[in-house]
Amino acid sequence: MGTIKQHFSAPMADFRAATAFPQYIRNDGTNFPVPVLAYDASSEEDAFFLFRAINYGSGNLTITINWYADTATSGGVSWGVSLACITPNTDTQDIETKAFATETIISDTHLGTTGQRDHDVVGTLSNLDSLAADDLVALKLARKPADAGDTMSGDANFVFFTIAWSDT
């Protein structure tokens, strides 16, 4: 039994023209660049990632999201993660009209001390949309400004996420 992990950074995101999306910012940094997706604090914005669920076996997925605050030093951030899964050659679903399964809310709290410190938050995705091995998976990542847990002022900068599953 093994755990398969895949890693997605901000530059790998895609966006819908018809849906509000986070601003892609390439922060030059003092010593290395930090590309991020800057999620607004008052309006929901979405980014999308496509990948293959290589050798998925069973069970829930675990997602670890790395983020930092643009200007805040306190408060909470709520992320929304949704999956849409298609089994190639088996599912007859039109890929361009495929719908997402129920969204999972993952909340984190700014740890203070330094505004732009890196945080990671781990969430379990159980709304799997009948995920099967080697499925094509679309993942939607949103900030949920209207969620009660999203109290942090200013942008939440998404850096990358790691998603993991069991191969058995």
Partner: protein, 93 residues
């Protein structure tokens, strides 16, 4: 001038959060609800102190300028007090 409508206050609040970083004003020291309360308080304070501000203006500007012109003047002076990044004039180069 009356106080801003709730939606106008909400938009000022959202704009302030977006611009905070752009203008290099450092960390926002409070959560969203606290910042929104500050926006509401600022708008209320302006409304409550219109007469005082008007009285502080010198003539003939006080008697000649419109309410909008007086309000904009207040904004210009306040923005300049924040720094050049907020109100850079042609004279600043």
């Amino acid at each position: 001038m009356a106080v801003l409508a709730d939606e106008d206050r909400r938009r000022v609040w959202a704009h302030a959060m977006r611009m905070w970083s752009t203008f290099g004003l450092g960390a926002i020291p409070v959560v969203k609800a606290d910042l929104r309360a500050a926006v509401d308080a600022t708008d209320t304070w302006i409304d409550n102190n219109q007469a005082s501000y008007n009285q502080a203006l010198t003539q003939p500007f006080r008697g000649s300028a419109s309410a909008a012109q007086k309000t904009l003047l207040l904004c210009f002076v306040a923005m300049r007090r924040v720094g050049l990044s907020m109100l850079r004039t042609e004279e600043d180069g």
